[in-house]
Structure formats: C-alpha cells, structure tokens
C-alpha cells in the first residue's frame, strides 16, 4: 500500500510539471522548439552586426539581450533546468554561480576601467607634485 501511495504521488508530481517540461529528458517537440528559438536568436544578432542596421551602441545592447535570452532558452530546452531538478540544488548552484560570475566580470570591468581613467593621464601626477 505504501508503494502504491508512493507511485500515485509520483504520478501526481509528474503531472505537476507536465505543462512546462514533461520529462527530464525533454521531448522531440521541446528540443525542436529550443533549436528553432536558438537559430532565430543567433541569426538576428549576426544579421544586425553584418548589415550594421542600427547604431553600434544600440546593436550592442540588442545583441547582449539576445545572448541572455538564448542562454535561458538553452538552459530550459537543452539542459532541462527547472526549480525542481535535484530537489532544487541545481538551481541553487546555478544562482550562486551567476552571482559569482556577475561579481567577477562586472567587478573586473568596473575596477579596471577606473584604473585606466585614473592612471593614464600623467600630467595629473605632475600638477600634484
């Protein structure tokens, strides 16, 4: 009976997340959808840069946005991430990694940019002395 109840629970659980991602391995449909989305999200940035359709700054912002969206698409459709996989530990590790990545990359760029602006003009040092 215990096993039966457990199985029932498992089925319920399966139905719970069926609307998003019906299985850990995904399905033909989800893979194809992920692929089509990836192709579109790759082709548009390449087209924007190759044709120089927009101003460089706008293009930069747009292709950054496309990259972020495509990473999310890959995470969901190819890596099958959801908040329930491995009891939530996958998501927790991912969030921790994203925090570290943002601190490391943004921090490096921020610090080094300011170093450059403060160090480069040597005449400032002379006037101080």
């Amino acid at each position: 009976m215990s096993a039966e109840a457990h199985e029932e629970h498992a089925v319920d659980h399966h139905d719970d997340h069926a609307h998003g991602d019906d299985h850990d391995h995904g399905s033909f449909k989800t893979y194809l959808l992920g692929f089509v989305l990836s192709v579109v999200l790759t082709a548009i940035p390449f087209w924007l840069v190759m044709t120089e359709a927009l101003a460089p700054q706008t293009t930069g912002l747009v292709i950054t946005a496309f990259a972020v969206v495509q990473i999310v698409v890959h995470m969901i459709f190819f890596l099958h991430m959801n908040h329930k996989s491995e009891g939530g530990w996958n998501m927790l590790a991912l969030i921790f990694t994203i925090v570290i990545v943002v601190i490391a990359v943004a921090g490096s760029v921020w610090v080094m940019y300011h170093l450059n602006t403060n160090m480069m003009p040597t005449h400032d040092m002379q006037t101080m002395g």
Partner: protein, 214 residues
C-alpha cells in the same frame, strides 16, 4: 500509513514509524548523486570561463598597434561555426531521446552525427587560428590576442575533450549496451555538450560580434 509513505523509506522502521536518528548511513543507490555532482563541476567550469571572459573584457581592447578584431574576424565563418555547434546540440538531444526509448542503434547514429558536427566545429576553429597566426596575429602579439586565444582556445579544448568522451562512450555502449552506468555517463556528457554551447553563445556575442562593433 499515509504519513509514513510521504517519508523517505530509508528513515522509516519496519512498523512504518519514522526514525529520527539513523545509526547507519541510509542506503544510496549507485550513482544517485552523479548528476548533481556533475552539475557542480559544470558550475565550477563556468567560473573558469567567467574569469577568462573578465580577462578578455579588461585587456581585449589592448591591440598594441597590432591587428584589431575587424582585421581578423570573419563573421560568415563564425556563423558557420556557431551553426555546427547548434546542430550538434540538437543531434545530441535526439540521441538522448533515442536512449530513453532504448533504441541503441538509433542513438549511436545520432551520437556519431553529433561527433561529426563537433569535429567540423574544431576544424573550422583550427583553420581560423591557423589563418590568424599566418597573418602574424599570434597570442604573443598583443593583450587582445592573448586574451582571445586563451578564451576561445579553452572552449575549443573543452569541445576536443567532449569529442574524445563521445567516442569513448560510443565504444562503451557498443561493448556493454545501454546499462544504467552508460546511461548516466551519456546524461553527464549531454549536460557537458549543451553547457559548451551555452559558453559559445557568450563567445560569439562578446568576442566576435562585439569585436566587429568596436
């Protein structure tokens, strides 16, 4: 009864009462934590790439009067490379779908196609590197080129090892069939392969496309 069934069976005694202080380590089936452990590895690998991206962001503009991205990068070639990796991602996905249905032969064919796309990616990348080095754009030329070669090269090295791993697993499946251990290994490689595609999104956006905008 219903209360007991909601508990982990490892923490329930014969009468169905919960055990609050287990004296022995509960039984864990072999490989039950492999996927989580492999995910942790991928996340630490992600940090390696984050550092390399940070290095590229900081010194990627230091050309030392040498060639700039616009002189070196060939966007149609990068687009072709990107499509190779993207195609290999979906063919690996099809291999996994065949694995779930225990269709070994079909899975092996999809894995072989994935491997071919992986090798095409590496071939194009090596051609690009060789072309750049031929033009004098070696890693020693400038900060930009050092950062470029270490970032893109590390990704390429990962794809190389992914290809070696793929061939190893194809031989394993050929010899031992789709045993649970092989399925687990194939699922790990699936994560690895798709993860490399995710890193490549960052590479083609921030190295190649942004390089052409500068």
């Amino acid at each position: 009864m219903s209360h007991a069934s909601s508990l982990n069976p490892d923490y329930v005694d014969e009468a169905g009462r919960p055990i609050y202080h287990p004296v022995e380590e509960p039984h864990h089936p072999e490989g039950h934590s492999t996927m989580l452990g492999f995910w942790m590895y991928l996340m630490s690998d992600c940090l390696i790439f984050a550092m390399l991206f940070a290095v590229y962001a900081v010194i990627g503009g230091n050309y030392a009067a040498g060639p700039a991205p616009k002189d070196l990068f060939d966007l149609p070639l990068v687009a072709l490379n990107t499509s190779m990796l993207l195609l290999s991602s979906i063919t690996y996905g099809f291999a996994m779908l065949a694995m779930v249905k225990n269709r070994t032969a079909q899975m092996q064919i999809w894995l072989a196609i994935t491997g071919v796309f992986g090798l095409c990616f590496l071939g194009i990348e090596l051609y690009e590197f060789a072309h750049m080095i031929h033009l004098g754009a070696t890693p020693q030329r400038s900060g930009f080129l050092s950062a470029f070669f270490i970032l893109v090269g590390t990704h390429g090295l990962h794809v190389t090892f992914g290809c070696i791993w793929l061939v190893t697993l194809m031989i394993q499946v050929w010899q031992k069939g789709l045993i649970p251990a092989n399925k687990r290994r194939l699922m790990c490689l699936s994560l690895f392969w798709h993860f490399l595609d995710v890193i490549w999104i960052g590479v083609f956006t921030f190295v190649y496309l942004f390089g052409m905008l500068r």
